[in-house]
Amino acid sequence: MSTAVHDHPHGHDDHAHHPSGLARYLTTTNHKDIGTMYLWFSFAMFLTGGVMALVIRAELFQPGLQVVNPDFFNQMTTLHGLIMVFGAIMPAFVGFANWQIPMMIGAPDMAFPRLNNWSFWLLPPAALLLVTSLFVPGGAAAAGWTLYPPLTVQMGMGMDLAIFAVHILGMSSILGSINIITTLLNMRAPGMTLMKMPLFCWTWLITAYLLLAAMPVLAGAVTMILTDRHFGTHFFNPAGGGDPVLFQHIFWFFGHPEVYIIAIPAFGVISQVIPAFSRKPLFGYTSMVYATASIAILSFIVWAHHMYTTGMPVQAQLFFMYATSLIAVPTGVKVFNWVATMWKGSLSFETPMLFAIGFLFLFTIGGFTGLVLAIVPIDIQLHDTYYVVAHFHYVMVAGALFAAFAGVYFWIPKWTGRMYDETLGKWHFWLSFIFFNMAFFVQHFLGLAGMPRRIPDYALQFADFNMVSSIGAFGFGLAQLLFLYVVVKCIRSGEQAPAKAWEGADTLEWTHLPSPAPYHSFETPPMVK
């Protein structure tokens, strides 16, 4: 998204000899280039995972098996999950971090620019492993993105490729986190105390710590599956004294923080966008920081709410139910703060704000269904049904993805120096909003009425809602092509954007840098009062 930076002259000729074309991107250590690559990579993965989702929804359009066989269907659900979580959403927010963090704290670049290059270039091979696993004998892993054994032990070599992909992705995340934390702790402009950082930076600081703690656990868990598969260990094999449920504990010890690894940077973006378009400072900055930190800490003691039906002791269920419900408190604080920020503001509704409001509205629905699912007796009814599918898509798509869209529309003038087409942007929002709800709202009903998830065919009473959902999914998918068009059009022929593209935006990148931001910015740090 930064082709425009090419023609921007920059004063530091010692850096001017960077190669052009592909070599430039292979060797670049510039946070803006790397941010751009992260974002495009994530969009490519988003389309790949999206096509898989559409295969799923095409098969589920009607009862009966029409499009794919059950085994391929399971491969699709598995890869869709892995690709969207690790390939699309997480890299998107790392892309934001790369572009924005140095500019927002007045640093010249990330703390470790070469490490940064390496973190990014680990991703494409991992993605390649996942996608090519479709073509190996036996096909891709078909055990669900949660990779529960013993099913994972039955899989063909597609499973091994998926495990390696997860290893590589995990490595990339850990390196990226080290880089982000170091940057935020050491590279802030003089005068910018931690409590003066824009909230987006705060959310990434917290997220990076979550990644550091959670990713090694995931790597360990999938390695144990690998050794169970090939090296005769019996961690999860009951015949050898192992315990399949142990894997679930380990996986979700990573998996629940993972949910917040995805959600917290989204909170950060929203916390920049809403004040900007309310023309009013963020309400409750301090409580936002504390709420985010408490969500992060709580996220490590709630993992077993994904495992209520494994039959753990009732005392454990009670503990996890109480702890999980407790997360509603800081999450509520955040929602109240955002609404209070809008209250008595001077609101305008450009596309970033529309996506932010869409986020607020739909993420809250996802939060409420999360509370419903936290309650053990209800969850025992709803676990592994479409209600859960609806719940986490409200959190992941209407939450994280909408926030990412808000962020792209918000910052693209700074990145490219050009304005996107506001009318088309609004179309993109409304189409996404309507089709998203069409695809996923009805899934609540399917789950309540008893439709399990991860099935390629279903009983007749689920037929009409599935059809609605499939139509919604295809509409949502098509709407994203419009997004691609808007972005390309903006880069190619958008109107010149002013340095401060949004009236209410007040962070350093808007107040101290021209649009587009020069290739090297803040080589001499600004003073922050």
């Binding site: 509370l371 209800i378 676990h383 309540l448």
Partner: protein, 408 residues
């Protein structure tokens, strides 16, 4: 279509109006199910009220505090009082929810004092039921999908209970507490019947338990709720709740079954009779993997059409299906089919020997299967008995605590 969608959305906003179960949990058929149903309503309403309140504020701001309406921006960005209020109030609401939730949960997990105990075993891809304790003790059978493949492939119209019908439902008496001890033979499964509010993962190597007490007679349907491989969507559960008398009659009838089977075994079968019966057995037990045309799925399941094992020596063919295929010390997906009767096994073997391009013209007789079975080290009775022993020891481990314990 769109009409249905709008009604759906409308009813979602007013859940109390949604009497029909298509927008809500299925109508409960147990007191516990009713508790859960009510608990869900309570929480849903709490959420709806908060949601409307919060977004009422937001939409008011969107309407009145917009720049285009000339509203100037205020500058406040803190207010300790409201911040404390909106931290404390949700906390109090949560406690209000936790109390009934805890009560229901403790009730739900109390599996003691059951009238009938049934062991449930998940297999890829069928359910096994062994009646362990109470009326009907000793009854044991498998339950598989009864929907014909043609309906799934769309070459025949779909029946009313498409994918939710089985050859043999679990039969239980009405108004009695039924405890299920649940395990699995291969991978994870989950036994779930929504209207009975019973869902429990089936975990290989471990025994967990749950219970239900049906209040009304009738057929209640559910599905496997944990991804267990290719046919995960095709292993339904049907519970047939009978009155006390009908249940007793059913138990009686089941006890006669072995006699009937013995009669079958002594009968003189012709190749045509066996093959006709074998086609049914094949459709119920083998098509999922080896496919109706006997061609299997390349790379995963071998073709039986033209297979050397199927057309070769009878001994080897019998052994393959009776004991399953073991490779590198691990049972492959080709599991033992010891649970089938001698006649059914002979029938399916005969059918596969004489179908598609396999035209051997030879029948496998029940007596040959019986001979292979009794000469094998792991005879049926031994295995069943040990399975029962495991389950019984789990009963002791789990019962006093009132919740599930592992069987190790």
């Amino acid at each position: 279509m769109i009409g249905k969608w709008t009604t759906g959305a409308m009813l979602a906003l007013a859940p109390a109006l949604a009497g029909a179960s298509r927008y809500n949990l299925q109508d409960p058929n147990s007191a516990l199910g009713q508790d859960i149903y009510d608990l869900h309503h309570l929480i849903l309403w709490v959420c709806v009220v908060i949601f409307v309140g919060v977004f009422g504020f937001m939409f008011y701001a969107i309407l009145k505090h917009r720049k285009s309406a000339g509203h100037p921006a205020a500058h406040f960005h803190e207010n300790t009082t409201v911040e404390v209020i909106w931290t404390v109030i949700p906390f109090v609401i949560l406690i209000g929810i936790a109390v009934p939730a805890t009560r229901t949960l403790v009730h739900q997990r109390d599996t003691s004092a059951a009238d009938l105990t049934i062991k449930v075993t998940g297999y890829q891809w069928k359910w096994g039921y062994d009646y362990l304790k109470g009326d009907g003790e000793g009854i044991s059978f498998f339950s598989t999908l009864a929907t014909p493949r043609e309906q799934i492939d769309g070459t025949a119209p779909k029946g009313e209970n498409y994918l939710l019908e089985v050859d043999q439902p679990v039969v239980v008496p009405v108004g009695k507490k039924v405890r299920l001890v649940i395990t699995a033979a291969d991978v994870l499964h989950a036994w779930w019947v929504p209207s009975l509010a019973a869902k429990q993962d089936a975990i290989p190597g471990f025994v967990r338990d749950t219970w239900f007490k049906a209040e009304r007679e009738g057929l209640y349907r559910g599905q496997c709720a944990e991804l267990c491989g290719k046919e995960h969507g095709f292993m339904p559960i049907v519970v047939n709740v009978l009155s006390a008398e009908k249940y007793a009659a059913w138990v009686n009838e089941r006890k006669q079954k072995p006699a009937a089977a013995a009669e079958d075994a002594n009968k003189q079968w012709t190749l045509a009779e066996l093959s006709a019966r074998g086609r049914k057995v094949f459709a119920e037990n083998c098509v999922a993997c080896h496919q109706g045309d006997g061609m299997g799925i390349p790379g995963s399941f071998p073709a039986l059409n033209g297979s050397k094992v199927v057309t070769g020596s009878k001994q080897a063919q019998i052994a393959t299906v009776l004991h399953g295929v073991v490779r590198d010390g691990k049972v492959t997906l080709m599991q033992p089919f010891r649970q089938l009767s001698d006649v059914d096994l002979a029938a399916v073997l005969t059918y596969t020997r004489n179908s598609w391009n396999n035209l051997g013209g030879e029948a496998v007789m029940p007596a040959e299967v019986a001979a292979a079975r009794s000469s094998s080290p792991q005879a049926l009775h031994g295995e069943r008995a040990s399975a029962l022993r495991i389950a019984a020891s789990a009963l002791h481990a789990a019962a006093p605590a009132g919740h599930a314990g592992a069987a190790r």
